[in-house]
């Protein structure tokens, strides 16, 4: 008997990178219904994906706080110009 797990693992990774075709999507869904191992693999990819997403979000927030003074001045200037012309 031929198992779909190897192909399913590629499709599960691809799902984060591109839109799966309808037939890929359906084959994957059906396989996940019957295969616990691949469901576990799916869950771990989702966990890693949200982990990296959280990391990137934290880094963006931290970088926003630590803007160099020169940049902050320029932004302030630009903002005041915008509000001047608007008013």
């Amino acid at each position: 008997m031929n198992h779909f797990c190897r192909e399913a693992s590629q499709l599960q990774s691809d799902a984060f990178e591109r839109q799966l075709t309808l037939s890929e999507h359906i084959r994957l869904r059906i396989h996940l219904l019957i295969c616990e191992a691949c469901r576990n693999y799916a869950d771990s990819l989702k966990l890693l994906n949200s982990f990296f997403h959280n990391l990137r979000k934290q880094v963006q927030q931290d970088e926003g706080i630590t803007l160099p003074d020169s940049d902050r001045e320029r932004i302030k200037e630009a903002l005041s110009r915008t509000s001047d012309s608007a008013g």
């Binding site: 797990c5 190897r6 192909e7 590629q10 691809d14 771990s44 990819l45």
Partner: protein, 154 residues
């Protein structure tokens, strides 16, 4: 050289013990230095992908089934994110990936570049990128299951 940089980062991890924030760990070590260095590496020489860097042959039987079924991970991604030890283990597992997988994986997941940018920088097609990322995820998951989710907690 990439390996050396990663090794240095890995060895220097103790300096960050205690009060290390995600920012010092990630921005300082992973993001800028390594990604910039990696881009230079790509420009300087074409990186080749060895046959042995395909983990699927060691993870799947010939009939396409898992040799060892993935276990169920019960962890909260937000808690993991704040867990310094986990980040060190993850860093070690990423450092073990074959060079090219490591490059595209870092650009994609840590730097957050889009597919188009990664393909351009690494000079590969989207299809090739998908294969590399898939292999990286398989290998990374296996490594984490061994060093974090499996062995160390049981």
């Amino acid at each position: 050289m990439v390996q050396e940089t990663l090794l240095a980062a890995w060895r220097g991890r103790d300096r960050f013990a205690g009060k290390s924030s995600v920012r010092t760990w990630l921005v300082g070590i992973l993001k800028h230095k390594i990604i910039d260095h990696i881009r230079k590496e790509i420009r300087d020489r074409k990186l080749s992908e060895a046959v042995k860097s395909d983990p699927t042959s060691s993870l799947f039987n010939a009939d396409g089934s898992w040799i060892e079924a993935p276990e169920n991970w019960k962890e909260n991604p937000q808690e993991l994110c704040e867990n310094e030890q986990f980040r060190h283990v993850l860093q070690g597992c990423i450092a073990k990936l074959p060079e090219k997988q490591q490059i595209v994986f870092r650009m994609r997941e840590i730097s957050g570049e889009d597919t188009e940018t990664v393909c351009k920088e690494a000079e590969i097609t989207p299809t090739h990128l998908h294969v590399l990322i898939h292999r990286a995820r398989l290998a990374l998951r296996t490594c984490l299951e061994f060093y974090w989710f499996g062995g160390r907690r049981s």
